[in-house]
Amino acid sequence: MNYLEGLKSYLRLDSAVRDDFLRELRGHLEDKIRELRESGVSEEEAKEIATEFLGSPRLLARQIYEVYSQGSWRETLFAVLPHFLTASLFALRWWSNPLWLAIIIVGVIGVVIYGWCHGKPTWLFSWLAYLLIPVVIAGVLLLYLPGGWVWVATLVYVPLAIVILVIVAKQILKIDWLFVSLMLLPVPIVVGWVMVLSMNISFFGTDIMYEAASWIALSFAVLALAVATFIRVRQRWIKVGALLICAIMVLTVVALVSNNALSIWVWLFLSLLALAHLFVPAFLERKMRGKVVSES
């Protein structure tokens, strides 16, 4: 594996920018090697010296990532919009209005299709989450089917949900695993709230929903704040931190509102889900990139 292949495996950039950058460095290495060859250095030695002068590919990849990783304020606004819309849906008690729900669902689908067809910008991934949430909710609803139907539905539903998730995540993993985590961030939060509400009442009854609505709105406001931080900071470790802190904060709010309604096993599951949304994409990307490098 040569220097540029190694560098490519570390780069997490838009494919057009990445290819342009690699082409530019290839030109630089050609010039440097030619100059060294003209001064009497052997081909092998010249290649070695030229790449040494460029420095560690990992460091170079990090530096170039930090150039492109900060989104503009406009992108930030676009990325936080779905979370703010959801927060206002609960804060204003509009969730039971079919008209608002229909407008929001059609709007989300439209925005996602537009973003997917226009180069998958960073803001798209926080919208994408809302298309996946019905998948999660449908899974939780399965628990309320009568008797043996739960097992039949689960056998059909679980593989289907996994296939949908894997197809979407695989596409995004080609860009950056952090975007998969960004996309999945609302999942542990929504699952947490669905579990709290379903333990307290008959599913989605209005009373507890009205009581919890302000807290749910707060959760989505925290989510919006975390996404804004994610888009605006350059450093990867702060992006990871923003997602992790958001999940911890919201699950803490869920715990406070739940009044000990959830068992320790449910909390363990929610905590693992919050950790998994961050670390499973990282692990999968590592495996995918390793596979691509070994095949090349």
């Binding site: 342009d20 530019e24 630089h28 002068f53 460029l54």
Partner: protein, 110 residues
């Protein structure tokens, strides 16, 4: 940290803008030109040049464009933009004031 390295780090963008303002250049050419113009004083770490160039481009101060060399190979030439020229003029004015003040304090006899 090395004082010279710190000074260079703070002046990198200004040096790059100044060189590109004199004529459009590509990365390797910039490194060579900087070395020649500074009598070998500035020896850029090659790996740090490209993130700096891309940062300037992202901020709209320069613009990259692929062009063919007489040899037929392509290189990405950087051109200064109007915004870049404005930023350079501002930096030059600040630098003149700053270096005069430094000289007055640190080299009073000169």
């Amino acid at each position: 940290m090395n004082y010279g390295r710190e000074l260079l780090k703070g002046s990198t963008d200004s040096l790059l803008l100044c060189l590109i303002n004199s004529q459009p250049m590509y990365g390797y050419q910039i490194i060579k030109e900087l070395e020649v113009k500074s009598n070998g004083y500035f020896q850029f770490k090659e790996g740090t040049l490209y993130p700096a160039l891309h940062r300037l481009e992202k901020n709209g101060l320069i613009k990259g464009k692929w062009q063919k060399l007489p040899s037929g190979q392509e290189r990405r030439y950087y051109y200064i933009t109007e915004k870049g020229q404005g930023a350079l003029n501002e930096r030059l004015a600040i630098w003149r004031g700053f270096s005069e003040a430094i000289d007055l304090v640190m080299l009073p006899s000169a």
